[in-house]
Point group: C2
Chain length 335, copies 2
């Protein structure tokens, strides 16, 4: 049995930089036609020059695969209208991080006061630049995303012409906002469709499944599954694949992030097949994103086959989800 | 400034066995006059012979300190009346583990059906043998203890003459049961008075603070603090100090347990001082337990002094809570 996917897209991806970039970029560019690249480098990507230079480094790491990196700027509320207007042709979106909320987010926004954000949001609305948001407060870890819900609601209702993507949603509450505001969209990761806090800390502690936002309750996962398996038109796949070297994961202060880039398509096939929803996978993995962003990806055909794929224990020093386990689907060919 | 503690007791302690026992036993026997020793060895302690042999190994590891190990049997519901009657003089309590719920609990009880437990509970009531319980279901990790609440209520109401200790409680809900049932008591650990899930997984992941039951929400910690700082007469200190070698903590499948034995008194002094409750420490650390169990400990006087104590990075291969940090109180003398 085969599954044919047309131009899979990863609408939320961390490629890092330097050696890590060289390790992980080919693992995304092989199976995906494009990906939104997160700008949380050190320092963050805040200028057109830095963005274009990073794009060049990405392209030179992707083995000449047919792959388009969709570049983002790290959101700052002092970008001028002129700057954004000029930069627009190079940027796909702006990514807003609350300060200190996840890996390399220290330079992020420290207040969600819409009066402080108004100018930039209005410029973005006018220039049709989407706003991608890591939506967490600095509250109790299980409540952070839900607490941020009111911020999403304020953003959405005050800036109806701003396209807002709730990135890597993890709660039933976030899911419920999609049908409430026309201009709210969401990405969902692979791992948040599969795991709950039980998988992270219910038995032994699993550092490789530790991520931000942290995996939530079973009923939250079920709400995300419902969106993904029905290919709700406002949700897109975004892996949030976030590589860290193994010594930063299996250690005293383990960094947040699940590395899924090389196994995402195979594991999604497994998941959608299990739930008899394979007919929805194309929409979740690509078509919804095309419509939401009005984006036409590079043409790429990926054929998956139900031949078991044994996931490598690690890719260089990065341990993937399903490390050393067997998945029922493998990538047969990419054209 | 000094704090004088009379015969501190640790009413819930894991000493393990073999080399680990030799490492950790002296760290408890130095500052404590006695401790309830958990029976979850491999295999668990289920016979008088095994219990007495384990007690001997403990005593030969405690450096001739004045220290009494209060021995427990691993609860089984097929202990006969004759067996328990004969064993009674050697055992301080029976410890009930739901099967598979924590370290070395595989041989535990698989059903909390009181009809299955009735005979043993009635024997224990008659012989005045306390029941110590690890109260968690196998549900979602944040709900397990609360879900077990109805089991505690059934136990307490059906066996009013059975002394039941809810071990290492972590929730406001468990705290609320204390005043509802005369025969319900509780131990509280040091770490559950200090941390929430945020400390385990809110920033980086902290394997050395990962334990079962997992640390809960801020309002849960506050409820525990209220009990401890007021030295509620039905609560006792039980460290649940649970050593694992560092390679079992800082690794892919991190074992559950916080190692606090050597720093517990110093950290409790810090905590009670911070909350202006030093006058309640003696009751929490010893007097309540004496009354609850009708137990007269070995006489031992521990003097703490407000001279900073730098916690060792590790004790052999075991990393303690507050590793390499400075605590404001140190143990001046033990008599």
């Amino acid at each position: 049995m085969q599954i044919k996917l047309s131009s899979p897209l990863d609408m939320h991806l961390h490629l890092r930089d330097a050696d890590m970039l060289k390790t992980v970029a080919p693992l995304s560019s092989y199976g995906f036609a494009g990906a939104i690249i997160m700008p949380n480098l050190v320092p963050p990507v805040t200028t057109t020059e830095a963005l274009l230079a990073y794009k060049d480094r990405i392209l030179s790491s992707t083995c000449r695969d047919k792959f388009e990196p969709l570049m983002t700027l790290f959101f700052k509320n002092d970008y001028s209208y002129e700057f954004l207007k000029k930069a627009k042709k190079h940027i796909f979106a702006l990514k807003l991080y609350p300060s200190g909320i996840t890996t390399n987010s220290d330079g992020g926004v420290s207040s969600m006061d819409i009066d402080l954000l108004r100018d930039t949001f209005e410029t973005m609305s006018e220039l049709n630049i989407p706003l991608l948001v890591h939506g967490e407060t600095n509250g109790f870890v299980m409540d952070r995303e839900m607490e941020f819900g009111s911020v999403y609601e304020q953003f959405a209702s005050n800036f109806p012409n701003l396209k807002i993507v709730m990135e890597h949603i993890t709660t039933a509450h976030s899911a419920s906002l999609l049908d409430k505001y026309e201009n709210l969209y969401a990405t969902i990761t692979l791992h948040h469709l599969l795991i709950t806090l039980d998988d992270v800390a219910g038995g032994m502690l699993s550092p490789h499944l530790f991520c931000k936002p942290i995996a939530k309750r079973p009923e939250d996962r079920d709400a995300l599954l419902k969106l993904a398996l029905s290919a709700h038109p406002k949700v897109m796949f975004g892996s949030d694949s976030a590589p860290h070297p193994v010594d930063k994961k299996e250690s005293c202060g383990c960094a947040a992030g699940v590395f899924t880039a090389p196994i995402a398509l195979q594991a999604l096939a497994m998941l959608f097949e299990k739930h008899k929803s394979l007919d929805k996978l194309q929409a979740f993995i690509s078509d919804n994103a095309r419509k939401i962003y009005g984006y036409k990806p590079i043409e790429k055909e990926v054929i998956l086959e139900n031949i078991p794929f044994t996931v490598p224990k690690s890719y260089k020093d990065v341990v993937p989800m399903f490390s050393a386990e067997k998945l029922p689907w493998s990538i047969k060919s990419v054209l």
